[in-house]
Symmetry: C3
Subunit: 273 residues, 3 copies
Amino acid sequence: MLGKYLEEVRKKTPLVHNITNYVTVNDVANILLACGGSPIMSDEPEDVEDITSICGGLNINIGTLNKRSIKGMKRAVKKAQELGHVTLLDPVGAGASRLRTETAAKLIEINRFTVIRGNISEIKALALGSGTTKGVDADIADAVTQDNLDEAVRFVKDFAKETGSVIAVTGAIDLVADAERCFVITNGRPEMGRITGTGCQLSGMMTAFVTANPDSALEAAAAAVCAMGLAGEIGYSHLADYEGNSTYRNRIIDAICHMDGKCLDEGAKYEVR
Amino acid sequence: MLGKYLEEVRKKTPLVHNITNYVTVNDVANILLACGGSPIMSDEPEDVEDITSICGGLNINIGTLNKRSIKGMKRAVKKAQELGHVTLLDPVGAGASRLRTETAAKLIEINRFTVIRGNISEIKALALGSGTTKGVDADIADAVTQDNLDEAVRFVKDFAKETGSVIAVTGAIDLVADAERCFVITNGRPEMGRITGTGCQLSGMMTAFVTANPDSALEAAAAAVCAMGLAGEIGYSHLADYEGNSTYRNRIIDAICHMDGKCLDEGAKYEVR
Amino acid sequence: MLGKYLEEVRKKTPLVHNITNYVTVNDVANILLACGGSPIMSDEPEDVEDITSICGGLNINIGTLNKRSIKGMKRAVKKAQELGHVTLLDPVGAGASRLRTETAAKLIEINRFTVIRGNISEIKALALGSGTTKGVDADIADAVTQDNLDEAVRFVKDFAKETGSVIAVTGAIDLVADAERCFVITNGRPEMGRITGTGCQLSGMMTAFVTANPDSALEAAAAAVCAMGLAGEIGYSHLADYEGNSTYRNRIIDAICHMDGKCLDEGAKYEVR
């Protein structure tokens, strides 16, 4: 039952330091507040160590990265590691540019992230780009489907084993795995793909979930994925027929704002493999 | 009939690289998704070439420019030009500061943009700032009205001829012209002026329209202007009496999300001069 | 009666230059438009002097500051001071990092701000960090309550005297003071704390209020605080039971959009001490 992980967030109000892209940053802040966390944003290298020190978790998202913010990411990650903080990496666009792929790889090299969360293409880019083909099968289709599910679960577990991180791959079917167990999650709606930043929002919220539940990182990360998908279902049910992706964005955050552990327990759709 | 240009966007899902200001970037991303395009944002000089290479169109918006992002704009524009991509320039604040005017002028010098879109003051600043008075009449009032329409149409056509770009001047009356023809468009509502970034959103969406219809840049740009204005009309019709500019922003993007070619054909208000 | 200060904003459409964080910047722009002001954002050191010169007020918010934008803040502040413009400082996160505390202190050193607006912790950090203990009592609880109100009022008046600025401390009870008088304001709702950036929005709007009413900075700042709190009350009254913090954000800006002087006069809850 995953609802208790949400309840812990509301009880503990974890402070999350976000170095994230400027496209979706406002929604990341609002969903963190909605779930019961507290967001702080800072990317200046000379500011990040102080800021991360007062937080419990660090969410690194490499969308709209630049050379200054990359330096900030590295410093923040080192400080968070030193302090034993929860760290999450969202490798936005890894595989789409050399700078993004290399930055994500470098960050993984200097820190064992508690969680790495991305879409299947980004995670594949990291797994391949890390210079090893272990667990990586070029035949894995970019979309995780019922047809290639076994193979995808194996890939994600293998990459979790290799990195020592919980790996969360989100899409129509979401996978959240450590080396041993994989949550296969089917909450959500396809219309969420027409909103910018649902992935970024999930990464921010997931950092709060894991920070509030440090001894159950796998379950807490899975709970965040279920919560996001369920919020997508609830939010959609409140849309008028003339409302589209921009209002839908608000409704999803609103649904997180009203969600409690019981609601999440009843609505979460997953199996563990 | 302009609806077919929207339909092409939905069919082709053009990937648009945006170097745009951090004020309105989220709305730009959401309207691109709403119209059927796919947005990517990147402004780091070392990242932009890779990103623009995988896209079909490039949207440059100089609001909140800085020296690093200006370097990114130049590199991206050169790469896009090399690859024959659609390019759009939104010279936000040209005329309001030397840096903005010069940056826009420099970008026009190194690249023939497919479209330049701005308000009349920005476009006048560029036309005057380019060191030529050809086609620029200091007597043109800043607002395009029925009274000065002939003169404004002539000015816009002349600047289109001079630059080799489609010129889109938006305001109460919108003008979209190449050297020969000018669409005079009257969709929209005055309340749109109380929302930040309707112009930025239009530039993003217009880049998707032109990228999906590369052989009809003029018509596609005009279709985007009509779609934006029509969305303003539809969105306004759904506002409750206590709803204001912030909700209106969402409703406009929502209206784009639901618009199809038939709706655009029926609602577009324009003549060609 | 504070309504007239809002009416002046609508009459004069003050142009406000904002150097503000990328988290909440869009909402700052929209609330400035909603109240009748006009926003411009620019943080590049080589751009800020031109931009601030065409404005009437300057809003400096140090959230997500970086070394480049700090340089921009300093240049803009100097130029605004030279031109006799209204200036406001929002010391976001002062006390949370050395860079933020020092940047705020440095800005106060080079400019007497018309208004400094923050939460009580930020204002205390500035008052202590300025190297003097005058008027600062370490026993002042971080939250202003009815129990410590006298002490808090004295602290705020003392800091106003020391800085020569109007000091606005916002929280459950808001205090807006110069050296002689303190507005104690009780508009607002606790749910506003779950929205990111209501403070940033208030700072932007307050700059417009003071810019439009330069001879009544104290009253205009207090009017902005009442307007924000009242908008929080009005916006909340329009929320459906499934709507949460993201929609609430829109409703608050919407309420400002519809507010007039009479509405503000009737809804403002304050006493002067």
